[in-house]
């Protein structure tokens, strides 16, 4: 049943088919209503960044797509399949991978076990040699306890372990948070290279300068809604607005 890309989706770039559509997404943490109707799209092969202040709902958006927020409504379509009611293990098996803000390195597992933990969900993941090529530090520390690594190494491990699963849609939550500039640069190179390899990436960032080096498009999140969106080419024209949005 070949379904053409939906007509209501604003086609902002021609990078590829529409891979993710989020429509009127609302989400709750217990009693508190966090997302109030999020709408955006991601096309295959793009790097899209969600920008916004602390507490705007960026992380909650990623978690809602991943299926790990208990109460969520609206529509999330991945490859034209609605996944709003799907459990997170099944969402992962459809090819979405998540790298959480707190990195989620397991202390009772060594680096090798952490790296090999996420099961391969489909063919096409990066082979280990390529992953070690991207992150040579990890290869040297395979037998260390996961949480004995430095912050930067933990972040690399958190990204590395979702690259071999075959998931082609990666969600990275603030991968540069708290890291030294030289490591941020390395992560930037990694994201650029992943894009070249054909991965689609949805990035959450506070670090706007970093985001501008890797992203194709931006959405601005405020109070649980998307309030603006523009492409990298429109960035310069939107700089003033952006400063107001982000309060920088």
């Amino acid at each position: 049943m070949p379904e053409t890309a939906t007509a209501d989706a604003p086609a902002k770039t021609a990078a590829g088919g529409n891979i993710l559509q989020v429509r009127n997404l609302e989400a709750w943490y217990g009693e508190s209503h966090i997302l109030h109707g999020i709408n955006f799209d991601v096309n295959a092969g793009e790097v899209v960044t969600l920008l916004g202040r602390n507490g705007a709902g960026k992380t909650t958006t990623l978690k809602s797509i991943m299926g790990i927020i208990g109460k969520r409504t609206g529509a999330v379509k991945f490859n034209n399949q609605d996944i709003i009611r799907t459990t997170s293990d099944k969402i992962a098996r459809m090819g979405i991978a998540f790298c959480p803000e707190e990195r989620g390195i397991f202390s009772s597992l060594d680096v090798r076990e952490n790296l090999l933990l996420p099961p391969v969900v489909r063919p096409g993941g990066l082979p280990l040699e390529q992953i070690f090529d991207l992150f040579p530090n990890l290869k040297e520390r395979l037998n260390s306890q996961g949480t004995k690594l430095s912050g930067g190494e933990q972040q690399m491990l958190a990204i590395a372990r979702i690259l071999r699963t075959g998931a082609s849609f990666l969600m990275l939550d603030e991968p540069t948070e708290g890291l030294a500039p030289v490591i941020i640069q390395q992560i930037g190179h990694t994201i650029a290279r992943l894009k070249k390899e054909g991965f689609t990436i949805l990035l959450v960032e506070q670090n706007f300068r970093f985001a501008s080096t890797v992203a194709d498009r931006y959405y601005v999140v405020e109070h649980g809604k998307i309030i603006d969106g523009f492409s990298n080419a429109e960035l310069a024209a939107n700089m003033d607005k952006l400063h107001t949005y982000l309060g920088v």
Binding site: M66, G67, I68, T87, S88, D89, K90, I91, A92, R93, A97, F98, P100, G104, F106, S107, S108, L109, E113, L116, L117, P118, P119, V121, I162, T165
Partner: protein, 287 residues
Amino acid sequence: MQALYAQLLVGLINGSFYALLSLGLAVIFGMLNIINFAHGALYMMGAFVAYFLLSLGGINYWWALLLAPVIVGIFGMILERTMLQWLTGLDHLYGLLLTFGIALIVQGVFQNYFGSSGLPYAIPDQLKGGLNLGFMFLPVYRAWVVIFSLVVCIATWFLIEKTRLGAYLRAATENPTLVRAFGINVPRMITLTYGLGVGLAALAGVLSAPINQVRPLMGADLIIVVFAVVVIGGMGSIMGSIITGFALGVIEGLTKYFYPEASNTVVFVLMVLVLLVKPTGLTGRAA
């Protein structure tokens, strides 16, 4: 001297049961965060299943070693699916009360039909007799229980600490949400883990049937000591619960030789001392 060796052997036997039971408790606590008070009742069920298999089906001890843990394990997984799973995220107290209630009901049902006296279960022919070691007489069946328990404990440790499946288990103990978001069916893994812990208890029950007879309250008597063992060893540690189980069995045995009056209380005295010095147990992590 003969008496000392005899008590050492009794200690090792008891230690085997302590180790198998506290190992199951540790595995269950790690994954489900539940203090499984039904453990003694499930151990008793293991012995009864072996008894039924033999008396009703003519199925021998060796098959019972395999079948009883599977049957009781399935019973445990049904308990987990129908009741325990609803306790996720609640205070420990709820799990403790629920599993304690389950233990009382299971033991009550068995007592209703079988009374309190023991049913005999014969030692299998292959393990009858004993060896004269010169300094002591070693019954073959008892040697078998110690060695087999040790092998099962080490195999379980290997499964959890050294395999891929064990890595899932350890990771899910730390952060079940993230492990599930990697595509692993964590709820099913929790059910299977409970089945594994329960199966270990049932296996201990089968091993004990020829030594202690099959009685509805055989688990209730043992489980109090096992909980003391778990507290001393520390709740979360696999190797810790194995070593503490065997060690306390031996200490209990030695006390029986040197100061018999204290043999029933020595474990609890040790528990108090450990709690005073290191409240998380010897190998435990902070809760």
